[in-house]
């Protein structure tokens, strides 16, 4: 029997239901693996008792015959999700030791389905970053290493802890959030699957806000099927979130099919950009072949405003963030720094100076700037217009195709400390950001390894509300890529 930690969520679920092993055995296996992998710095808080309690409840439920869809499955939870009574800090010093008296809707849904919690997962501070290096807890180490190298690599970001945990098999699945690629890029770097659903599928209630019009939660797991299982539980209408979609949750898992006959796959010509390693484009071509093999027809499409997506994103996201992060002022919760003989303004300055890291401050300043009098129209209004054009690009493209295939990221994982220029860091999201601006479902699935033995991901973008086609195309790639590589356990 394979180790329990090596199994997929579907295997754990089915084995638990069939009585091959108990939920407690699953929880204990993962708890031990978590404790043995602290070198990775993936978890900021470990909650083994929580995982065990949920497991015992699941075992009891199974004895009586009524089990939830995730009974017996312990998960890692990104530190952006509020978890009642458990530290929720968004990877920031300013929320040091913050324990919310409430549970986010997404994690409440997971608990309702019987899932347990292994702990809170490290992340870039306030989800701002592509390498997990902006976390107040220090960077997460990817379980992957370049062939013959000991250099520590990033797992990507901002859901770097989630990606590393799944890849290192210290969680069978994890929650992530994606504002401009924060699920998909780390999934690609870590050789796992991750899907960001249509904006509004998952409630944002209880998820610490970065950029409200872009933030979307989604699952990260080893397989496409596992993503479908988790997403079905995480998604759903929530009256507490005005932007939540009041639609029934489709049965994505039951409708999974790698048969793409009759489907057209759009290949956007604007995504062939200079400076991207040839391996990335080679993998992309291989992806096209796999989808053809599954019965789909590739069609070249044009998304003409693609080159404006990144600058547009880096106006809108910081603008919203500068306002969303104003609440961290030291008055009601979190860090408070009171300088001697200082007034209220001095307290704000000292608290925010000490509480926020450099990247967060940079984005607050950018956001404040683009919203300020005299610059608002030139930046924010213009960016909103371009965003509308990018949405229009996709609307037109989906008249010609059913799903779009691109690379997930322009490179494989890079070393910790290697990328110091913020603009170079922002380029990581060049392929991910357009779908975020358009609010479309998008997924990364592993396609293969590069020459150095590091995973590369393929990126599927679907039409609004059509997660099913994204998942199905992902499954078709998964079935053909035969990606079974796992990092050698060095930790």
């Amino acid at each position: 029997m394979t180790e329990l930690t090596a199994k997929t969520i579907a295997e754990l679920r089915d084995g638990f239901r069939a009585g091959e092993f108990t939920a407690r055995e699953i929880a204990e296996s993962f708890n031990s693996a978590v404790a043995a992998a602290r070198t990775l710095n993936a978890y900021t808080v470990e909650t083994p008792e929580d995982a065990l309690a949920s497991a015992d409840a699941a075992d009891k439920a199974r004895a009586s015959g009524e089990v939830g869809s995730l009974a017996g499955i312990p998960l890692g939870i990104k530190d952006l999700f509020a978890t009642r009574g458990v530290n929720t800090t968004a990877g920031s010093h300013i929320l040091k030791d913050f324990k919310p008296p409430y549970e986010s809707t997404v994690t409440a849904n997971l608990r309702e389905a019987g899932a347990g919690m292994l702990g809170k997962l490290n992340m870039d501070e306030f989800a701002m970053g592509s390498s997990n290096e902006t976390s107040t807890y220090g960077p997460v180490l990817s379980p992957w290493r370049r062939r013959g190298s000991n250099v520590g690599l990033t797992p990507g970001g901002s859901s770097g802890g989630s990606a590393a945990a799944v890849a290192a098999e210290i969680a069978p699945g994890a929650t992530g959030t994606d504002t401009g690629g924060s699920i998909r890029q780390p999934a690609a770097f870590a050789g796992i699957c991750g899907i960001k659903p249509t904006y509004g599928r998952c409630s944002r209630w209880g998820v610490v806000a970065f950029a409200s019009s872009l933030d979307q939660a989604g699952p990260m797991a080893k397989t496409v099927r596992d993503c479908a299982i988790l997403l079905e539980v995480m998604a759903g209408f929530d009256p507490k979130d005005s932007t939540s979609l009041d639609l029934p949750v489709p049965r994505w898992e039951a409708n999974l099919s790698g048969d793409l006959r009759g489907k057209r796959v759009g290949i956007p010509k604007e995504y062939r950009i200079d400076g991207v390693p040839s391996e990335i484009n080679t993998l992309w071509d291989r992806g096209i072949e796999w989808l053809k093999d599954a019965g789909a027809t590739p069609v070249e499409i044009s998304l003409p405003h693609t080159k404006y997506a990144l600058p547009t994103y880096y106006i809108i996201a910081p603008a919203e963030a500068s306002s969303n992060l104003a609440r961290y002022d030291g008055v009601r919760y979190g860090l408070r720094e009171v300088p001697e003989s200082g007034n209220l303004d001095a307290m704000y300055s000292a608290t925010r100076e000490a509480g926020f890291g450099a990247e967060v401050k940079r984005r607050i300043m950018i956001g404040t700037y683009v919203l300020s009098a005299g610059f608002y129209d030139a930046y924010f209004t213009k960016a909103q217009k371009v965003r509308a054009l990018i949405k229009q690009d996709f609307r037109r493209a989906f008249e010609q195709c059913d799903v779009i295939l691109t690379p997930t990221a322009p490179s494989a994982a890079f070393g910790i400390g290697e990328t110091t220029d913020p603009l170079a860091m922002y380029l990581n999201d060049v392929f991910a950001v357009p779908a975020s601006l358009a609010g479309l479902p998008a997924m990364s699935v592993p396609g293969g390894l590069d020459e150095q033995g590091l995973p590369l991901g393929l990126h599927l973008i679907g039409n609004e509300l059509d997660e099913q086609t994204v998942l199905n195309a992902g499954l078709a790639i998964e079935e053909r890529a035969g990606f079974a590589a796992r990092p050698d356990k060095w930790w």
Partner: protein, 493 residues
């Protein structure tokens, strides 16, 4: 109140000046009893920080959800002000840091307000329809109120009470159409009356559920508008009028002494009756308004708007005109419709098949007079509309005289009993018994033979004397008409 015929002018050294006033009225939506985006309760005077939800305290990950009833009340208010209702509106964030503002931004509506242009008719002289003037409404938007800081609880620290935080406000912005303190006062009173009729806001300025920012500038009549100052958070009609008066004079003196008016925010000191500078335009915040990404645009459908429209009661102007058509004097109609409670009381009274004109005279003179003396509100009136109708009917059908009616009313005020019972109990019924009246008349004529002779000699005015003597002898209970008839029969025979 100023004479409406003569425009209000400030006499300066260089001639006469005109004052230009616009008001931004913040009216709390008290009808919803719930906050704009959090659903928390909004009772006035609750213990600090007991009416605060996770959303109001801006805990991480909390999201606003618009309260339908708050939006409905703002739409109804807009309709009552004859204003354009925008089917599509949107919320914006106004960003600034302050300890009473947990989110670090106020959710308001800058770019696309819920309600557009409307107007309010004011009467400067209640007796004179021709003193009417329309004051334009520019817009009404919906926004969150902030919390309150308490500076007197600790020697070195300030405390924050978030109870008011997130309470729904309507900001009702007028055009700069007012030209005197009296007009500003009349506008604010009329606006408050309309809000109370609609029921959206209780208009309670003492509790802060309605307050005004007063924009004042001066100019020589016919000139362009001058630079305005904005005096914030003025919380009574009288204070608003004082601010206009004071600011106008201050600005005239400033300009005439060679200075110029600075565009600035000022505060009113009610103890001294003066305004003082709070901050200048240069110090003004850059609020960095942008559409709130946590909220979808508000889109109103026909069914919602129809329901809002149907739910609006008869408003003061319409009611006043209806009363006038019933024969009620313009003054009485105006007084009776000024407050929704009084108008409601009066409507209930005339539902009892009484003469509206007499009912109006009686209500304004007798009932309001009595309530004023005792300091009671109409809601506290010991006399119900039905009981009042009973009293008026006893007068109308001759059961009691007008003067006895006053006595009966006093007893009604004391006891709360119906007039009929009091009249029965105290034996105050008017008599038309000619036998009894004749007997008293005969006695009086006999005892005043000299006056009878004078009367018959042509001193007609003595007739009143005989009436008075007879009524007195009958303890006021004789039917005056019968007394008149019998006296004439006997004296003129």
């Amino acid at each position: 109140m100023a004479d409406s015929a003569a425009p209000f002018r400030i006499k300066g050294e260089t001639g006469e000046w005109e004052v230009v006033v616009g008001l931004e009225v913040h009216a709390q939506i008290t009808a919803s009893r719930a906050k704009l985006f959090s659903g928390a309760a909004t009772a006035f005077g609750a213990e600090p920080n007991t009416q605060v939800s996770l959303v109001d305290a801006a805990m991480p990950g909390m999201l606003p959800v618009p309260n339908r009833e708050c939006i409905r009340q703002a739409v109804r208010t807009g309709m009552a002000l004859d204003a354009k209702i925008n089917r599509w509106s949107r919320f914006d964030r106004k960003n600034y840091f302050y300890a009473d503002l947990p989110q670090g931004y106020q959710i308001s509506q800058l770019y696309h307000p819920l309600v557009g242009e409307g107007e309010v008719e004011i009467l400067l002289d209640e007796k004179d329809e021709s003193s009417a003037k329309n004051i334009g409404i520019e817009r009404i938007h919906v926004e969150q109120d902030a919390g309150k800081l308490m500076h007197d609880q600790h020697p070195t620290m300030s405390y924050v009470d978030l109870n008011r935080c997130g309470v729904a406000l309507m900001e009702i912005v007028s055009r700069p159409d007012m030209r005197s303190p009296a007009e500003a006062g009349a506008y604010l009173r009329k606006l408050r009356a309309i809000l109370r009729y609609v029921g959206s806001c209780d208009g309670n300025m003492e509790e802060g559920s309605m307050r005004a920012d007063v924009n004042v500038s001066v100019r020589k009549p016919g000139d362009e508008f001058g630079t305005r100052t904005e005096t914030k958070n003025v919380n009574s009609v009288r204070f608003v009028m004082q601010v206009v008066e004071h600011e106008a004079k201050r600005q005239v003196e400033l300009i005439e002494s060679g200075g110029s008016v600075a565009q600035e925010t000022r505060l009113f000191d009610p103890d001294k009756g003066v305004t003082r500078s709070l901050r200048s335009k240069e110090d003004a915040h850059d609020y960095r308004y942008f559409p709130d990404p946590d909220l979808l645009p508000l889109e109103l459908d026909d069914a919602f708007l129809d329901e809002c429209r149907k739910s609006i009661p008869e408003l003061p102007d319409a009611k006043r005109k209806r009363y006038e058509l019933m024969g009620i004097s313009p003054y009485n109609a105006s007084v009776l419709t000024a407050e929704v409670e009084a108008a409601g009381w009066f409507d209930a009274l005339i539902d009892n098949d009484v003469d509206p004109k007499q009912a109006a005279n009686w209500t304004v003179a007798e009932l309001f007079g009595a309530l004023n003396r005792t300091g009671a509100t109409i809601a506290e009136s010991p006399v119900s509309p039905a009981h009042a109708a009973g009293l008026l009917k006893l007068v109308a059908d001759g059961t009691i005289s007008g003067s006895i009616a006053k006595t009966v009313f006093e007893k009604m005020l004391e006891s709360g009993d119906p007039a009929v019972e009091i009249v029965e109990r105290e034996g105050l019924k008017q008599t038309s018994d000619t036998g009894a009246i004749d007997a008293e008349i005969d006695k009086i004529l006999a005892a005043n033979a000299d006056k009878v002779a004078e009367y018959k000699g042509g001193k007609q005015q003595l007739f009143g004397f005989f009436v008075g003597q007879t009524m007195k002898a009958m303890a006021g209970k004789a039917n005056p008409q019968v007394v008149n008839e019998r006296l004439r029969a006997k004296l003129d025979a």
